[in-house]
């Protein structure tokens, strides 16, 4: 699998992401699948920086860098304007981080999903406010270190995937920039569906997660193969399908590779393992139920 620049790319070579950025890999894959007939909305966050300053840009498609909490509402405005002009071809894609999605932008995202606006919303989840220098977000996992949770985050990671599925929008999926084919397929799938599509993309961040930049692909793979971050999709709020069968590697491999988890005790680890097992069993049960209904 080569990720070298080719004709499908909607990013020019060169961007302002950190070396080893998992989010930029995901961005490249998403925009490849979205295609040229598209308009993007970006908001403050890493992507807002990655695109580059005026008058330069790494995007080949038109984009609007809108206010932080408005990714979904802004995308919905574009989508309605296109429909008002009779344009049903052009894809509108919102590209946001986890802070812009799970925290400050959740209201406008919920509103857009409730109205089933015809947009693809991609949340690039690097599990904290990385653009502003590693501050905790509601998508930060429990116990993870950030600059504003020096003792580890006390609360759980907000489950945006299930929140979005609860809106009963036609398509919700998790993805990871380290599983390129799976990610591209999900975007391609989303393009065929009318209504609100939500793709939650785990984006390993060497800067904020504290791992060497060359390890980005490994970290993403470990997140999925340890069942820490399963790859699945939910149609119409109910039909669950797991899109990658994990190898069930030990979660220690994932956690111990990152500086943000280096303070974990054995008790912490046991708790995390139990939670992973519970979540996986629940996901399997829902998948089985979906295939039987």
């Amino acid at each position: 699998m080569s990720l070298a620049h080719d004709d499908r790319d909607n990013l020019y070579p060169g961007h302002l992401g950190c070396p080893g950025c998992g989010e930029v890999i995901g961005l490249k894959l998403v925009l490849q699948a979205v295609g040229k007939q598209a308009i993007a909305v970006v908001i403050p966050g890493c992507i807002g920086i990655v695109i580059g300053p005026y008058p330069f840009s790494t995007f080949k498609i038109p984009f609007f860098h809108a206010a932080f909490e408005t990714a979904a509402a802004t995308a919905a405005g574009i989508s309605n304007a296109l429909l008002a002009k009779g344009d049903e071809e052009t894809i509108v894609v919102a590209l946001a981080g986890d802070g812009g999605t799970a925290d400050i932008g959740i209201q406008s995202l919920s509103g857009a999903a409730d109205r089933d606006e015809n947009i693809i919303y991609c949340c690039f989840d690097n599990e904290a406010y990385m653009n502003t220098g590693i501050q905790v977000s509601s998508a930060t996992p429990q116990l993870a270190w950030t600059m504003t949770t020096p003792l580890g985050k006390p609360g759980r990671k907000k489950n945006m995937v299930e929140i979005m599925a609860a809106h009963h929008i036609p398509y919700v999926a998790t993805a990871c920039s380290c599983f390129p084919d799976d990610l591209r397929r999900k975007i391609t799938e989303a393009k065929q569906i009318k209504g609100t599509k939500y793709i939650h993309i785990l984006s390993p961040c060497p800067t904020g997660w504290r791992f060497p930049e060359r390890l980005t692909p490994n970290i993403g793979r470990l997140a999925v193969e340890t069942k820490y971050f399963p790859l699945y999709e939910i149609r119409n709020g109910r039909e669950v399908r797991i899109t990658h069968k994990p190898k069930d590697l030990p979660v220690e491999d994932y956690l111990s590779a990152q500086g943000r988890f280096k303070h974990l005790t054995k008790d912490d680890l046991d708790r995390i393992k139990k939670e992973i097992d519970r979540n996986w069993d629940e996901l399997k049960r829902r998948e089985d139920q979906s295939s039987h209904s």
Binding site: I39, I51, I61, P62, G77, A81, L83, G111
Partner: protein, 387 residues
């Protein structure tokens, strides 16, 4: 037709053929949203209606739809407008000619539903044109004019009504013919738009110097807007028989004392002035209509022969004075510095400003030699509210 100000504004919007309308309910604006939804339900709206989850999202959607190349409309009031505040800067920065109706309503806290202009006046630095209207016909006509002006100069515009005084009172309103409005207001064709065939980045990060240039360009556009407002109003008058000017003047020619105000207090002032004139008092009125850009030169021209000016504000900048008064003083200072300007803050929270209040403003101004430093918010011991 016999219409409320809200419905007159809704007709003004529909006649302007917006393609995307995004709105959220708030008293006393909701009847605009309901009327547009009713037309949408009957297939008579001609655009897409977005029933969004907040005013903030309404403005976000209007901005991006406008940048995609379609005409947009929203309406709000009070808390809704101040919730939009952040995005008002974006709309003007992106030169998106969104047109919005705001129904002036007092801001919390405490909660109030009644008229006060502080909501829209505190948006004064956002780069939106602001029109204050006095009656329902002016509301309808100004919405149509606002589109033409906003799209000519690529800046957004707010048309301001007043809670209940204009929003809910019914008046006879002439609703113009759609063909005539189409002749006046051509389809919206922005020079740049979000378009996959012509990819471009909108609202990127810039350097200090570039930011300064963008900012100065907006100031230049604002200053040039005064002429555009005048010429569009003149054109409207020729085609529809109604024009309003940059501001309204009433019996101003030989007036020694000039009352300056905005909105519905202006129509009450006309009646009061007629009564005072009968008693031989040389009094006139200037009603502010265009507040941003503030038509500075024309205001000075109209006021330079006044001996005293009394400004009646249904708003206040806490710790300073009425905002129209403050603004007018800044226009007059260094041009005609010797006219004393008396500031009266009346009608806060929608309290009534009737002819008796305006008469008192006049008689106090007549008696006083020098304008006090602090605004007058009580009239001869009586609370402004008339209670």
């Amino acid at each position: 037709m016999f219409l409320t100000g809200n419905h007159a504004a809704a007709y003004g919007a529909r006649l302007s053929r917006p393609k995307v309308i995004a709105a959220y309910p708030i008293t006393p604006q909701s009847p605009i949203y309901e009327k547009l939804s009713e037309w949408d339900g009957k297939g008579e709206l001609g655009g897409r209606m977005m029933r969004v989850e907040s005013e903030h999202s309404a403005m976000a959607a209007c901005i991006s739809a406008s940048l995609t190349g379609v005409r947009t409309f929203t309406a709000t009031a009070s808390q809704g407008l101040v919730l939009m505040h952040e995005l008002l800067h974006f709309a003007s920065g992106m030169r998106a000619p969104v047109v919005m109706v705001n129904v002036n309503r007092a801001l919390g806290s405490p909660w109030s539903f009644w008229s006060e202009q502080t909501d829209s006046l505190s948006q004064r630095d956002t780069g939106w044109l602001q029109f204050y209207v006095a009656d329902n016909q002016e509301a309808l006509d100004t919405v149509i004019q606002a589109y033409k002006i906003a799209e000519t100069i690529s800046l957004p515009a707010i048309v301001v009504l007043e809670a209940f005084y204009t929003s809910h009172f019914m008046e006879p309103v002439e609703v113009p013919d759609q063909n005539k409005v189409d002749g006046f207001l051509p389809p919206f064709e922005p020079p740049f738009k979000l378009d996959p065939n012509h990819p471009a980045g909108f609202c990127q990060t810039v350097t200090q110097n570039e930011y300064k240039k963008f900012r100065l360009n907006r100031q230049i556009a604002m200053e040039n807007a005064v002429e555009v407002v005048e010429s569009v109003d003149k054109e409207y008058e020729e085609q529809f028989g109604r024009g309003y000017g940059l501001f309204e003047t009433y019996r101003l020619e030989d007036a020694e004392i000039v009352l300056v105000t905005a909105g519905t207090i202006g129509s009450t002032a006309r009646v009061t002035i007629d009564g005072l004139r009968e008693k031989g008092k040389k009094v006139g009125m200037l009603r502010i209509r265009l507040f941003r850009p503030f038509p500075k030169a024309k205001l000075v021209e109209s006021l330079r022969h006044a001996k005293k000016i009394a400004v009646i504000d249904r708003n206040i900048s806490l710790g300073q004075e009425g905002i129209f008064c403050e603004e007018l003083k800044s226009v007059l200072y260094s041009r005609v510095r010797d006219i004393p300007v008396f500031g009266f803050v009346l009608g806060l929270g929608g309290t009534n400003v009737g002819p008796s209040h305006i008469e008192k403003v006049f008689s106090m101004t007549e008696k006083m030699e020098q304008a006090p430093i602090h605004p007058i918010i009580e009239l001869e011991g009586e609370n402004v509210s008339g209670t």
